[in-house]
């Protein structure tokens, strides 16, 4: 849409008209003067000479009056029309809820009212269309979200990359395995190390490029040879030096062209540790057993081959044999204990609250038999390691046998802590169950009503490293028990809860399906479309407004925009110790007090991480010259220079909405229908600025500004661009 008359062009037009009027009037005057007789000229000159002051005064009043009239015309008729055009663009492009409120001539106000009426209908129509689109897209969206959920909840890390190694999809597990040390739970003064996992980022920032290249080379060779299995498997080091198995699988297009690759990451460090432990255990046991048996054998053969041994020697050799049998037994006991304690991980057991396990069993017993065992939960902090389903079913089987085969009375469950186990006692009043009955139950397949597993009770107990037996308690006359030991979980091991997933609204955005079909990236950013570029929108909180005067950064917040989407799950937020006092005036604005910053890293530690975070993106901010100045002041100290191209939302707003009075963050947000959450926090302002920027892009496009170069040139034309730090 072509720009309407601007203020400067209006005054240029007015000046031109006045000049033209002056020239015409001057010319007419000269012509008349020329035709006047000399006497009339003399008379007029005399009159003018006598009343020169009055004439000048009249002239000034005339000019002032004229200026006021023209300005009044401009403010009532020209400026409102210009604003109407800008507001219409906002309503119909980015914010259908915006309504025009202006002061101007009656005609302009009538036009504004008419436009607002049309905007009401447009907003209603927009809503209706969006509802229809949402309905139509719900199923596809649900399927997309289901795939996203499956990928997100996989125990393996998954990364999908384009041929250039840019990440287009990843899940949380991949982030855990690859990212630099997490801040959550770690020392906050310890800055993050290592690369970032995020959409659009290079996978080579977090994985050794040579390893991936080697795998891709192997895959290419396999493709050339026509082999069916195109995957390549390798071992790489992830976060905290943990070992991962990395499977590289190519993604092929319809023509079997290489369109990307998938990395499936499995943490094998624990598995390797277990295997190493088993090996060590075995070796140690072998050596000890060999030594003991050797001594025994030597002694026995001496006794056998030398029947006339003197008594003392005979006795000594007998002693050796006995001592070595004890040594062998001790070695085997030690190996068995070590194995059970640390190595027996053949069956995957999970941590679970003991009370949850037993309450679940009681509930199912009530559902199946209308007979709920009495159970009073103990401490809620008791945890066990069990395969929940098989153990629950095995215990229900035992309860079933007790109630229906042995016909015992009401059952009671109680627990008792025994070192590395919890003893579960199933008690009743009546005769005890015989050991052979228990053995028979152990050999039976676990089945309760229509629930069954292909394991015997003994199998389930073995995989938990436990036993069941008839137990007696002191002082319990007439009371009988069966005792089952349940392996206790280490109370110091923190429990990681997986994030709960809600469909479809709360699924975090981890992927974009469109990037695979995009054209290759080109290095010339200036001629790239604004909609295609990657951005880091950031904001800083500071000790004051004077970068050159010693004011320092105390908080950095940033969020990335990829493919027109703000990636809220890939934010950067860090408090910074400014190593100086924080004036109360600045605390009143951002609320960050000095004690909060104690122990935080200083700018020399934070800036390199932020630089890495923003690598390869366009920097965007509101009144960003101030922030860039602060960063520039730290170049010498940190050695970090931000050479990224920069865009300022304040300048862009001033360019698009030149007729608007205010271009501060709140005014623009209100105009564009954006709510800023966390105002005057670095991350809150960064995210608000990002939303604003996303809405400014289509407004720029409507004015023919589509590339980065065009946006920068347009920004430079505004008044605000003259304000420098």
């Amino acid at each position: 849409m072509p720009r309407l008359i601007t203020k400067s062009s209006f005054w240029a037009f007015v000046s031109l008209c006045l000049l033209f009027f002056s020239i015409v009037m001057g010319g007419l005057g000269l012509v008349l003067w020329d035709r006047l007789p000399d006497a009339d000229r003399t008379f007029l000159l005399g009159m003018a000479g006598q009343h020169v002051g009055d004439l000048i005064g009249l002239g000034v009043i005339f000019v002032i009056g004229l200026v006021f009239i023209i300005d009044w015309v401009f403010r009532l008729y020209i400026l409102p029309v210009d604003r109407l055009a800008e507001e219409v663009s906002v309503i119909f492009r980015v914010n259908p809820g915006q309504r025009i409120r202006l002061h101007g001539s009656k005609e302009a106000m009538r036009l504004a009212t008419a436009i607002n009426t049309v905007a009401d209908s447009f907003e209603e129509l927009n809503r209706s269309v969006e509802d229809r689109i949402r309905e139509a897209g719900t199923r596809a969206e649900a399927e997309k979200q289901l795939l996203a959920m499956v990928v997100a909840e996989l125990p393996q890390g998954v990364l999908i990359c384009n041929p250039q190694g840019q990440i287009t999809l990843y899940n949380e597990r991949a982030q855990q395995l690859l990212r630099g040390s997490e801040r959550h739970g770690d020392d906050p003064a310890e800055p993050m190390t290592g690369g970032f996992v995020g959409l659009g980022r290079s996978v080579f920032g977090v994985l050794n490029k040579n390893i991936i290249s080697h795998a891709l080379g192997e895959i290419t060779d396999k493709m050339r040879r026509g082999q069916p299995d195109l995957r390549s498997s390798l071992v790489a080091t992830g976060r905290d030096e943990r070992l991962m198995r990395v499977e590289v699988v190519p993604v092929l297009g319809r023509d079997r062209d290489f369109t990307g690759f998938v990395l499936i990451l499995t943490d094998i460090s624990q598995q390797l540790a277990v295997e190493r432990r088993v090996d060590t255990l075995f070796q140690t046991l072998m050596v000890k057993m060999r030594a003991a048996v050797a001594s025994m054998r030597a002694a026995i053969e001496i006794i056998r081959d030398y029947p006339n041994l003197e008594a003392a020697k005979h006795s000594q050799l007998q002693g050796i044999i006995h001592a070595e049998t004890l040594t062998a037994g001790a070695a085997m006991d030690e190996a068995a204990a070590e194995f059970n304690r640390h190595v027996n991980a053949n069956w995957p057991l999970a941590r679970m609250r003991l009370s949850d396990l037993l309450e679940g069993i009681c509930r199912r017993a009530e559902e199946k038999w209308a007979a709920r065992p009495a159970y009073v939960p103990g401490e809620s902090d008791h945890w066990v390691r069990v395969d929940s389903y098989s153990m629950s079913l095995a215990l229900l089987f035992i309860l079933d046998r007790l109630m229906h085969e042995s016909a015992v009375g009401p059952l009671r469950l109680s627990t008792q802590r025994l070192e590395s186990y919890f003893a579960l006692d199933i008690g009743w009043t009546g005769s005890p169950v015989r050991m052979e009955t228990i053995r028979r139950w152990e050999d039976q397949a676990v089945a309760v009503a229509d629930d069954a597993i292909p394991s015997t009770v003994k199998d389930v107990l073995d995989r938990h490293g436990t036993e069941i037996w008839a137990h007696t308690r002191s002082g319990g006359a007439g009371e009988s028990y069966l005792r089952i030991l349940l392996p206790a979980a280490d109370p110091k091991t923190p429990v990681r809860f997986k994030r709960s997933t809600l469909l479809p609204v709360n699924r975090p955005v981890f992927f974009d399906y469109d990037i695979f079909s995009r054209a290759d990236q080109h290095p010339e950013l200036d001629n790239r479309m604004l909609t295609e570029l990657a951005y880091t929108v950031f904001d800083t909180e500071t000790t004051g407004l004077d970068p050159r005067g010693g004011d320092e950064i105390i908080s950095v917040g940033a969020v990335r925009i990829i493919n027109g989407k703000m990636l809220e799950d890939e934010c950067f937020e860090q408090l910074v110790n400014p190593q100086r006092l924080i004036p109360w005036s600045s605390v009143q604005i951002h609320g960050i007090q000095a004690k909060v910053l104690e122990g935080q890293p200083d700018i020399a530690q934070v800036l390199p991480m932020f630089h890495k975070y923003a690598e390869g993106t366009i920097l965007v901010g509101h009144n960003v010259a101030f922030d860039m100045r602060l960063l520039q002041e730290k170049e010498v100290l940190t050695g970090i220079r931000f050479g990224n191209p920069v865009l300022d939302t304040m300048l862009i707003s001033a360019f698009i909405h030149s007729a608007q009075q205010s271009h501060d963050l709140e005014a623009i947000a209100e105009r564009l229908g954006i709510t800023i959450i966390g105002r005057h926090t670095a991350l809150g302002d960064a995210m608000g600025t990002a939303e604003i920027f996303l809405k400014l892009i289509p407004l720029l496009a409507a004015m023919g500004i589509q590339t980065l170069k065009q946006a920068r040139e347009a920004s430079q034309k505004t008044y605000y661009a003259r304000l420098k730090y």
């Binding site: 057993m289 060999r290 050797a294 001594s295 054998r297 030597a298 001496i302 050796i320 001592a323």
Partner: protein, 124 residues
Amino acid sequence: MSKKVLIVDDEPSIIVALQFLMEQNGYETLVAFSGEEAMETIARQHPDLILLDIMLPVVDGFEVCQRVRENPEWKDIRIVLVTALGSEANAAKGLALGADAYITKPFANADLVAKVKELLACPA
């Protein structure tokens, strides 16, 4: 003069048995319970044959074997490694380091005695 056999092992039980065996077969026996003690005894007594365990504290049997073979004055000393380490790699290493024989525990007494007699009968 009877040949001297040095028995090196940190397990007293096996030393008792081996010492008896060697003495019953006419050999003079010396005993060491560690690699360091073995080296001192070798330097002092110059045994004809060493029954050498590998799993010794601090200086293990492999190192003792290597040190003995590095000293030209001791090249006539025979070394029999008697050990609980039973893998092929261990045996290959022991023989490569200069042991004359590698016997895995547990062993038959008669086999051990036969090997000792064989080695002491032949010149080094």
